[in-house]
Symmetry: C2
Amino acid sequence: MDPHATETDRASTATRILDAAQAQIQRRGYNAVSYGDLADALDLTTAAVHYHFSSKADLGKALVARYRQANADARAAIQEEEETLRGQLERYVEGYVGILESGGLCLCGVLAADDETLPAPVRREVRGFFADQEDWLAEIIADADDAELAGHDAPREVAELLLATIEGAMLTTRHRGPDAYRTLLRRFIDTVAS
Amino acid sequence: MDPHATETDRASTATRILDAAQAQIQRRGYNAVSYGDLADALDLTTAAVHYHFSSKADLGKALVARYRQANADARAAIQEEEETLRGQLERYVEGYVGILESGGLCLCGVLAADDETLPAPVRREVRGFFADQEDWLAEIIADADDAELAGHDAPREVAELLLATIEGAMLTTRHRGPDAYRTLLRRFIDTVAS
DNA sequence: GTCTATAAACTGATAGAC
DNA sequence: GTCTATCAGTTTATAGAC
């Protein structure tokens, strides 16, 4: 690898296409982002984008799969490094703030709104993402010390409620900045963990 | 008016266009619904649709304004007919179930996901809708008997949290049917009203 | 109020040269 | 791996007849 290459140069074109697609879809929705938009953003032609992702279904599926994997890695790090349930939940919730700061929403929240227009493989990935979150949240809530739990007997329901709150808060507070989101989620966590 | 006209005949074309646009946008998102789609659904031409709504911004603005008004009427009826905070919240939450049953999301939830692509007048209406909900919810929570409240001192924050939960629960449970939504919201209300 | 006809731009996608 | 060139289909919108 060329040691003089810039950070941007080092990323493969396929990765740069995924980066641009993610940024634009999170801000504008799936159906408002075209091959032309991505080509323009990267100074390529639409044919070059098609070389890397032969169809939009292909691109969408690869995009959500990558998002899911990055998210799984982040969750693993949280579980390893945070000892208390409160610490884990706070870091998990904070993980979405960067998205809001760049003007977008959770990729899968946006795609869920476009659900009926998604190619089937993309829809499957989106549902898989939600299932991932609910499974993991239910697990860390169930595993928490009794002393830390605010009397919750149904980890799965609390997990689903937290995921819904995160996705909904991003939607309803996106025009007010990240602090509005933080305030809502802090209040939620207060009702779950001591 | 022709006394033999059917229910559908009686509705003006403008109203039928708004009905079709609302149904389709709630299922597919703003940018996946075209004049051609609406014309097809109503057996009209795109030119006829343009006669009633000269631009898509026009149509979108009229659509959200009507949605806001219908919602305001529903809230007024709830406030008049339900005596307890719990009764008011349960009926408010239940008001969104019909949307889920027809396969869609809250119109303004969908539009908020497409935020950056919306014509400015439409975006204003969408934010107005969210403000309407938060104002009203904060008011009924603040007005509730102390005996009924589960120790909440910040009506506004609880109102924002409820709205976020509703919008988010619709997004994350849409593929699981209305009962998944109901279960989540029941649990939320239990934490607010006795 | 609805139609036919049309425009100009954009969409996802392909063929073949370099 | 990227380009030029091109396709058929769609999108928002307008002009003018009925």
